[in-house]
Symmetry: D2
Subunit: 203 residues, 4 copies
Amino acid sequence: MRALFLNGTLKPSPETSNTGALAAYVGDRLAEHGVEVEHVRLVDHDVAPGVVSEAVRDGDGWPALHAKVVAADIVVFATPTWMGQPGSVIKGAMERLDALMSETQDDGTPMAYNKVCGVIVTGNEDGAHHVIAELAQAAIDVGFTFPGQAWTYWNKGPGPSDAEYLTSDEQEWTHSTGDAMAHVLVHAARALAAVPVPKPPNA
Amino acid sequence: MRALFLNGTLKPSPETSNTGALAAYVGDRLAEHGVEVEHVRLVDHDVAPGVVSEAVRDGDGWPALHAKVVAADIVVFATPTWMGQPGSVIKGAMERLDALMSETQDDGTPMAYNKVCGVIVTGNEDGAHHVIAELAQAAIDVGFTFPGQAWTYWNKGPGPSDAEYLTSDEQEWTHSTGDAMAHVLVHAARALAAVPVPKPPNA
Amino acid sequence: MRALFLNGTLKPSPETSNTGALAAYVGDRLAEHGVEVEHVRLVDHDVAPGVVSEAVRDGDGWPALHAKVVAADIVVFATPTWMGQPGSVIKGAMERLDALMSETQDDGTPMAYNKVCGVIVTGNEDGAHHVIAELAQAAIDVGFTFPGQAWTYWNKGPGPSDAEYLTSDEQEWTHSTGDAMAHVLVHAARALAAVPVPKPPNA
Amino acid sequence: MRALFLNGTLKPSPETSNTGALAAYVGDRLAEHGVEVEHVRLVDHDVAPGVVSEAVRDGDGWPALHAKVVAADIVVFATPTWMGQPGSVIKGAMERLDALMSETQDDGTPMAYNKVCGVIVTGNEDGAHHVIAELAQAAIDVGFTFPGQAWTYWNKGPGPSDAEYLTSDEQEWTHSTGDAMAHVLVHAARALAAVPVPKPPNA
């Protein structure tokens, strides 16, 4: 079983990414369940704006990432919060995933059927529930299944501050929720692997 | 296998509900899969504002509906669109469902685990995707699993109009999408019944 | 100049409302600017589900509140956060306000033109920015003007807790932001009173 | 008086942009009111991911656009709809605008105070109201004033299709609403120019 984490931080490597750090925590939990885990920092891959799986210009990093999504059983969308909303980088990846709607597996089943997904959010302020709503809806639109409570987040409030996940002494709820997230992702993925949803009537 | 449709129309019976009509269409498809289907029009049940499962005042209709949710394998949230957003009546039901977060099944598994849900939206104007986002996130928060593409909708645009689902001659996409919705709901519910997600580590 | 605060707490009087307490703070600041301030706790007024200004059933509390909205220069929408979203009670009031779209002032100007609005949010968890987005969009839809930064909020995180605005020792940012909210509301209302937006070409 | 249109189409020039076409329509109406209008297609300007006004890497197109925003009295955010949500390109611009929160005019007033903004949305499907909500909230966060009904949109439904604004024979509501949008933008901008909101107490 394979899991892919798409990290939508705005900061290119090697800058520290709080979002990447929380993704690493949850990825380690999935690995303990025997899942093969890969992390991608999107901003390092020059993903072009667009809505197709193929390259839209020279150097477009998306086609290689599309192949990783296709190969994964579990996809986790991780993003910082800006103005209470998902960041533009993860949004750019979701737009490229829009193309999955017209792609199918060998037997005609929509490409994302029987794949499960989850969301990780960090921020120095309010917004996680809404970020989860936006990313869940977009992923469900293209066929991913979102298991109950397959998310975790870290932020603080009220108001903006310099607080951040990595240096916070309030990580306990975030980690406990992340442990449960890994648990439901792996078990839901196993259920759909054992008893898959077949091709729908309108396929 | 049991399915419960919660219809959040603002109009009490016996007024015609376009939302109820589209819910009936999808319910009939679930019945064809052998599912036992029940429809509830929330506004007829005097649901009090609140966030607990128990009655919050005399005549509060929620406790009886809570029992139906607990007994269901599939719950469908159906609502009209007002100002591009979910209606207040379905929102009131979601708030009562917040209490599921601290309720468990006999073995300690969170109450909504291994239940699946979907969304039905009607409107005379734009808003369905966002309504799906709001209801999906709230349902996922309390533990429901949202299978890929387990929704359908009807609306028109651009701008408001007198058009409505029941009298429209453009129902084909809505019905085809509703057929697929019933298909994924029943198959995902079967997968989670056969190979259920067990109690998570933070339970 | 008149300001109306619509408090969408789910709790009937005389229960303590954190949302009402923060609304009172901002109302007091408006009063210091010479504004006549009125607070309404919606749940005490038996507002029926619906989308018209007139009573939709016996005892419907909305028509009296509609008259207060029409008489106000400043309307503040105050609500608790549930599941990261606006509460159902304030949503019910927004739906009734939908009717303003087809009502006009004596000279044919849309009813809500030259009225300004703001938002107050409380919660024990994440969600304020999204609540502001939902209520701002609905109010703008029907014609209210939303001045820059005309909002304040209080919540905590990460994760749910028993923390609340009234007993918190972290009120400073919330109050400072509320001071600015009162300032921009009163100044923007004065600007639109002095140089009002006239009837639009599509009226 | 100056108006700046930021077009968030995903398609680089010289591809046809429906969003740009509707922005041109509203821009022409503003010009009839005597406003000096400039249109920018963001994707042509190599805007880097980030949250500051200064260049974050070589060739970053944002600093020049930031200067245009600062010089404008009216800013219109125009975007296509993807999965019912704002596109990633306009989101990237909003993130750069986050920096306005700590910038001020010569007299200490927050940079975006007394600037007004509006939103234009196109799409082949549902989503405009939510796009307006997201962009309105982000713009209000940093200090822009959003006048009542300062938006217009074009889309179709139910379901996706090949329909588009430019070739549609249903442009009338969109244009009439766009006429009103230009009207309220120019009149609200004049009101705030004549009677500006001064520096707030927390500045």
